[in-house]
Symmetry: C2
Subunit: 234 residues, 2 copies
């Protein structure tokens, strides 16, 4: 007879796997063993073993040789971990003065250590924020997450007026580069030119910048409406 596990009893490793599967799933589902192994920096053999284990726990459904998908229970835990991560990031940034390229690493460790009490307190102290410092939406405590796919800066055409809504949080060097160019969340940008190598010339606060693929693919934007866009340049 197996005891019904209503409370939290998941190890840090399990949480890391579920989070990784969740994120990979949004790109391609089902998630392959090798994609998971690469994301977590472990061997494919280790991933296989854990996939079997997670399947046994009913946190994923895993078909050998054909990858895995989260179950509702697994998704719930993944979203809780992501909620912790992004709330902590926002707290580090807003309340403790961390730069946006430093918050991810610190949150990575803290996300497994905080209590529900701690989560609720920082949520309240921050005024129930809807995104992390990179613009990623924070899952709600009830597990609801609205995660819309935005266009990248690299997909913009010359003449577009856009606003930065979200940036990829993975590479601190890219984030520092954006900071240096004054390109923060909600910064308005005018795309003045597309070049043959897919690089762009953009205007940020009147200053022209040449941005290449690794940057332009890391910045997600929304088009400015007619009344928001300055009349000149258009």
């Amino acid at each position: 007879m197996v005891k019904f596990d209503s409370g939290r009893a998941t190890s840090q490793a399990v949480e890391d796997y579920l989070k990784a599967i969740y994120k990979l799933q949004s790109v391609t589902a089902p998630v392959t063993t090798s994609a998971l192994a690469e994301k977590l920096g472990i061997s494919a053999a280790a991933a296989t073993k854990m996939l079997k284990q997670l399947d046994g726990m009913r946190l994923i459904s895993y078909v050998p040789y054909h990858g895995a998908n989260l179950t509702d229970a697994g998704r719930r835990i993944a979203l809780e971990v992501i909620r912790h991560h992004r709330l902590i990031e926002q707290y580090l940034h807003q309340a403790m003065g961390y730069a946006w390229d430093q918050v991810d690493a610190e949150a990575e460790k803290l996300e497994h250590a905080i209590s529900e009490e701690f989560e609720a307190r920082i949520d309240e102290l921050l005024g129930y924020p809807e995104t992390c410092p990179h613009g990623d939406p924070i899952p709600r405590a009830d597990g609801v997450l609205v995660d819309e796919r935005l266009q990248t800066l690299g997909e913009c055409a010359a003449g577009d007026w856009v606003r930065i809504e979200r940036v990829r949080d993975t590479d601190p060097a890219v984030l520092r580069d954006l900071t240096q160019r004054q390109m923060g969340l909600h910064t308005q940008i005018f795309v003045s030119d597309r070049h043959s190598d897919n690089s762009l010339t953009i205007l940020v606060a009147g200053t022209p910048h040449l941005v290449h693929e690794p940057i332009s693919a890391s910045v997600f934007v929304t088009p400015l409406t007619a009344d928001q866009a300055p009349a000149n340049h258009g």
Copy 2:
């Protein structure tokens, strides 16, 4: 050939053991296997195995059947963990509104997860505090700790005017009891009577309280000087 390990590479378990040994050592040195096992809530066999391991790492000096003492290296790590713990407690209390009976449990988990960066930031944000919310001194970043032995409230005589300087942080129920009686850090107390069962009648802000051993032994005090003590009651 063993690689020289200059940076931090201690597991959470090692940190917990060193912290426990440090605290037990202040009561009786060397620390016995059974005392350690009891403090950590594990079997004596597990403690023995870890003691051998810690001795091999040169973090303690351990003589089988005769207990263990921290080496300088071990003490340094123990003090770092304790510094983390008490700084976090103070942060939870001052910056996040935690009550003093709630901070220990939360800090217990966070102390192993924070970076040196995080430690430095909360230290600065708090204005370099010297104690945790229970009055325990916070080890300095360079490893120096001044930890003086104070008398307990239970050791006071009738007629004493004293001030609460420190409380045992172990039992949340005791802490909540103290809160209810308005007995916080730096509260002034007049000891009006000692009774035959070692309980005391004390005056807190003019209100009489009967305090029994478990409470009076958990409160550390310093005598008020003549000019600090109110003239009446004395």
